[in-house]
């Protein structure tokens, strides 16, 4: 049976892991390789590295980091953050990333999804969708959640799947950072509508949140950052708990 995936996310700035709330008050949290290796050893099913740097200089650092990650770990990993062109994707894939995650650039120019899928295959295109419930409507946000769009979340999800996305990483901004549980309703709405895997993100605070996610929705994976990072929820504890609750887990 295909297993539900547990995916830790690492925020990267200038080649280092950083921590902060909504990208504010960032502090250095160590070498990404050390943390990645720890997660792999603990049983993480995949890793996501989100680059939150802006400058071209720092982007070169990212490529070097991706090469080091690829050499060090033996599970799949996704790299995202600020990707705007097929050339950037080529550099990341060549460096050893298994998948790339695109967000704002896909909203700005949806054809980018198809261009990446045509060149590298759908399996490596993760489209990240940041969504927020505004006046009863789940609206797509871009630029790190700072800017609203005219897009409605389920419609955009269907469109990205049609364009060749291999997976959707759905982050509920209402839930993000609350540790109050995943946004079940929108996660299920999107999962039902598309035939590609959906990774739920935002709101994970304790093991029961993952159980509820996998019982109440068809999400293929749950992603979280700080709870794993701070060892509030250790991955082995979480996975053992989910196995006991009869969730299909590696």
């Amino acid at each position: 049976m295909l297993k539900k995936r547990i995916i830790p996310c690492l925020d990267i700035k200038n080649g280092r892991t950083v921590k902060g709330v909504n990208f504010v008050g960032l502090r250095d949290a160590g070498d990404p390789i050390d943390l990645a290796k720890r997660y792999v050893k603990e049983g993480a099913d995949e890793l996501v590295f989100l680059d939150i740097t802006a400058t071209i200089e720092e982007r070169k650092t990212l490529i070097q980091l991706v090469k080091r990650i690829a050499a060090a770990i033996n599970i799949p990993f996704t790299v995202g953050g600020g990707i705007q062109s097929v050339e950037q994707v080529a550099a990341l894939i060549t460096a050893g990333a298994d998948k790339v995650s695109i967000n704002s650039a896909a909203v700005k120019r949806p054809a980018l999804i198809q261009e990446i899928a045509d060149r590298f295959g759908s399996q490596c295109v993760v489209v990240a969708i940041d969504t927020k419930l505004v006046a009863g409507k789940w609206e797509v946000f871009v630029r790190g959640g700072r800017q609203g769009t005219a897009l409605e979340t389920t419609a955009w999800a269907v469109e990205v799947a049609r364009l060749g996305a291999g997976e959707i990483l759905l982050t509920s901004m209402n839930q993000d950072g609350t540790k109050a549980g995943f946004a079940l309703e929108i996660t299920q709405q999107v999962s039902e509508l598309v035939n590609i895997p959906v990774i739920a993100s935002g709101g994970a605070g304790k093991p029961t949140h993952f159980k509820t996610l996998f019982q109440k929705t068809e999400a293929s994976a749950g992603l979280a950052a700080s709870i794993f990072h701070d060892e509030e929820v250790a991955i082995p504890v979480l996975k053992n708990y989910l196995k006991k609750e009869k969730i299909a887990i590696r």
Binding site: M1, L2, K3, R5, V40, D45, A70, A71, N74, I75, P76, I93, T94, A95, G96, D98, F120, G121, S122, Q123, C124, G166, E167, N195, I196, P197, E218, S220, A221, R250
Partner: protein
């Protein structure tokens, strides 16, 4: 030396990294002499079947593969290209295995992406030390049907060949290079053949 066949498919560096972690020296090459001289050959790949076959034929790599006498391991698209044919771009393939490659019916999420266990049809050196409940990492939209060369099957939407073997040719649908310790063990088993 392990030759990793270079062609127009991705994911090749991952295989080299995985071999390096096992202490094996490898070379990414499309040179026939180098491939035929290697102790073992790996035929990896993530990509599209018909364009990959066209590339292999244009470069004469298809003929080189048929001449290989040392153990060769096909991974993912590599496995599919070693079958009779593929529905992906409706192409004839290398025909090493009798299996045919078909598209998954859309009865569940496609691609089949993530970790899955398998059923062993027979004990086999490539699976030494591996248990059926062990999980391996998959990412594919097309699957190889069962054939007389099938050693192990995986069940997603339907049963498909996940390990195949004929003579010196071995293949896995999962990615051993991305399947944590279980995958590393399978690669080591291949190196030990």
């Amino acid at each position: 030396m392990i030759a990793i066949i270079k062609y127009n498919a991705g994911n090749i560096a991952s295989v080299q990294n995985a071999l390096a972690r096992l202490g094996a020296t490898s070379e990414i090459t499309d040179d026939a002499a180098t491939i035929l001289r290697a102790d073992k050959v790996i035929f990896p790949g993530v990509g599209e079947a018909s364009s990959a076959m066209a590339y292999l034929r244009a470069k004469g790599i298809d003929e080189t593969i048929r001449k290989i006498k040392k153990p060769m391991l096909g991974i993912c698209l590599g496995l599919q290209l070693m079958c009779m044919s593929s529905e992906e771009g409706n192409t004839a393939c290398l025909g090493i295995f009798g299996a045919r490659v078909k598209v998954f019916p859309p009865k569940d999420k496609v691609p089949h992406m993530g970790w899955n266990n398998f059923s062993m049809l027979q004990a086999h050196p490539i699976l030494r030390g591996i248990k059926e409940e062990d999980n391996l990492y998959y990412v594919h939209r097309y699957f190889a049907s069962l054939s007389k060369e099938t050693i192990a099957t995986c069940d997603y939407i339907q049963k498909f060949s996940t390990v195949l073997h004929k003579d010196n040719f071995y293949a896995t649908q999962f990615h051993p290079e991305k399947s944590a310790e279980t995958g590393a063990r399978i690669l080591q088993n291949f190196l030990d053949l």
